[in-house]
Amino acid sequence: MIALVFAVLVAVLMGSATYLLLQRNPVRMVIGLGLFTHAVNLLVFSTSVSHRGQPPIVVDKAAFNGDISQFVDPLPQALILTAIVISFGIVAFLIALLHRRNSLEAVESCTDRVDDPFAMESTTALEAVEEDYEWLEDVVLKRELRKPKGKRK
């Protein structure tokens, strides 16, 4: 019975995670990833067979006969602990990346300034080209494309 509850919970979590991951909004994607990792953690947890009920501690050592069938398996909890830390770290990094992306949208408008044919000769623009070749390469190309066809080499 407990196994069924776990299975349904994992399925619901994974289903909603998949739905969120398929959205275009990156914030929803991050939430989806968080849900996905939680679903998997729950799945690993369900392997510890908690229906047995006893904590894996031998109280009376003399009476212990090696029968472990009543004990909950402690290993999956250790595994989940590791997995939680890892997924937490990655999701945190993803959020930082998202923040950077949002703050870069202000920078995107700066590229328009470089894109301006009159601003190109200024020193700031040249420095930017030197520092940031890959990104500005697109800008240079775009300017080329805007020229009438005959002028292109």
């Binding site: 991951l21 990792t37 998997v40 799945l43 690993v44 998202l98 070749y133 390469e137 080499k153």
Partner: protein
């Protein structure tokens, strides 16, 4: 000479110690601190190379396995580190690449990317080394995550718009793949009650076929997307060209190969029978990966984008080696695997050299754009760089006497021996297309005349430190081609140890005390 098994912990501990201490040393962010970090990284990578060579000697040359039971816990209960010939070969190649990349970084890194580049590189090294040594599924997962975490940060170091966009895709898709991996670990533990690879190899034999297929399929998806196999490779060309060339070079050389290593290890150890049953699947994936990579390379127009698409097509060749491992007779099995392993060795060296040289050209000229004559004239301006690029491209395309020729010949021979005509034809076709693509890179990027300049004057590549590491790698590649006997013999030893599953199980010697949980009800 045989060394103590405790040395197995060194490839994990050395980078960790040096990375942590170089983070502690660099309290403020300036050039002097960067230099301290770089020196620490250099010491660490040389030490790591030394340890890797020791391990190579005692596993490959003496043809044996080394096992470390951490804290003397018996096999399925503790953390087990195992080094066999394949692990040692991968460790050594990684160590060589690390030394060269630290040298290359001296010549190319500027302050913007230089901040904490070296500690991150060492964390990456720790993760990669750990993944090669891990003796159980969960530690493999953990080390995968360690190297992915380091790679996430390395990829977005510098924080440019393109990097952030590429980084998002990279992180999301890799996290998904890792989650699939963790799910598989959960399923395996819930049904078979163990995560130790040797123990799993014993229990997987008696497991029901459905379970074996589910586990193998999920692992194929997880590792396949990390290795950049056919339907799952889209994160790679979206992100690999965005970071600093030093980062691209080390990623291109190392990361996908960890996924390939895991595929080799898991399929030979746990699913030798599926290797035979799934041969059409594996060979089909290999062929599609090769074709997708090489056609993708034709469609893009900057040096590093072309080269990152070629990573994909090359990964296809390695999977072809794995797919050919399953042919009927005992002799041919070893030959296909050995050819695949030799291909991995060749590829790691040559790809890194090419990405380094291409990256140096991009840095010098200010752009990697192949169209419209931004890059022409490199042959005259920087003849040494052009010559090295030519040699490396030569090797990637598989012309004699380079290592690329020998490795492709080996795979082709294995394919013909096992009468897999389709894959043989595809591999030849892709080889020709790769040559074409390399010629295009050469013509558009290096030869010819420069029509337009992205920078007012090309920056001079700082010759000593930019060129020397590339030269080292190219010389190694040529050496692997000319003295190929030794290297083929090494890969045959590695393949032999992969096939000898009983030897692996015996070396780890897991005790089978507790019955698997899933079997009781």
């Amino acid at each position: 000479m045989s060394i103590n098994a405790n040395w197995l912990a060194a490839p994990v501990i050395i980078p960790l110690l040096f990375a942590a201490s170089s983070l502690l040393v660099a309290t403020r962010v300036n050039l002097r601190q960067m230099r301290v970090q770089r020196n620490l990284a250099l010491i660490a990578s040389v030490l790591n190379l030394g340890v890797a060579l020791l391990l190579l000697h005692s596993t490959v040359i003496q043809d044996q396995r080394m096992v470390l039971h951490a804290g003397l816990w018996q096999a399925p209960f503790g953390i087990t580190l195992v080094a066999d010939a394949l692990s040692a070969i991968m460790l050594t190649l990684t160590a060589v690449l690390m030394v060269t990349i630290v040298l290359y970084a001296i010549g190319t890194l500027d302050q913007r990317e230089g901040l904490n580049f070296h500690p991150l590189l060492l964390f990456l090294l720790m993760g990669v080394n750990g993944a090669f040594l891990a003796g159980d599924l969960f530690n493999l997962y953990v080390f995968f995550e360690v190297l992915l975490m380091a790679s996430f940060v390395l990829l977005s170091l510098g924080g440019r718009p393109a990097q952030v966009n590429g980084g998002m895709r990279y992180v999301v898709l890799n996290l998904l793949a890792s989650t699939v991996f963790l799910t598989t670990a959960g399923v395996v533990y819930g049904t078979l009650g163990t995560l130790n690879l040797a123990h799993l190899a014993v229990r997987m034999e008696v497991a029901p076929l459905t379970l074996r297929i589910i586990v193998a399929g999920m692992l194929l998806i997880a590792y396949g997307s990390k290795a950049g196999l056919f339907p799952l490779f889209f994160w790679l060309p979206a992100s690999y060209h965005t970071p600093h060339p030093a980062v691209t070079a080390i990623f291109g050389g190392l990361l996908t190969k960890v996924g390939i290593y895991a595929l080799f290890r898991i399929f030979t150890l746990l699913f030798p029978d599926l290797l035979l049953e799934w041969q059409p699947l594996l060979l089909g994936i290999a062929a599609l990966t090769m074709l997708a990579g090489v056609f993708g390379a034709m469609a893009v127009n900057t040096i590093r984008r072309v080269l990152s698409f070629h990573i994909i097509s090359q990964v296809g060749y390695m999977v072809m080696g794995l797919g050919l491992a399953s042919t009927g007779n005992e002799l041919a099995i070893g030959f296909g695997l050995a050819a695949g392993i030799f291909y991995i060795m060749h590829h790691m060296i040559v790809k890194t050299a090419l990405l380094m040289a291409g990256g140096a050209a991009e840095l010098t000229m200010g752009t990697g754009q192949l169209k419209e004559g931004y890059l022409g004239g490199l042959v005259k301006r920087f003849p040494l760089l052009a010559a090295i690029f030519f040699l490396a491209a030569f090797s990637l395309a598989g012309l004699p006497p380079s290592s690329g020729f020998v490795s492709k010949l080996g795979l082709l021979q294995a394919a013909l021996d096992s009468q897999q005509w389709m894959i043989a034809a595809v591999s030849l076709l892709v080889s020709a297309l790769t040559l074409m693509s390399m010629v295009r890179l050469w013509q558009k990027g290096f030869a010819g005349k420069q029509h337009k300049a992205a920078l007012p004057t090309p920056r001079r590549p700082i010759y000593g430190f930019t060129i020397a590491p590339i030269m080292i790698l190219v010389v190694i590649s040529l050496g692997m081609g000319i003295f190929s006997d030794t290297f083929i013999q090494w890969s045959q030893v590695a393949a032999g140890q992969l096939i000898d599953r009983a030897g692996y199980i015996q070396a780890v010697a897991p005790t089978d005390l507790i019955a698997p949980v899933g079997m009781e009800h």
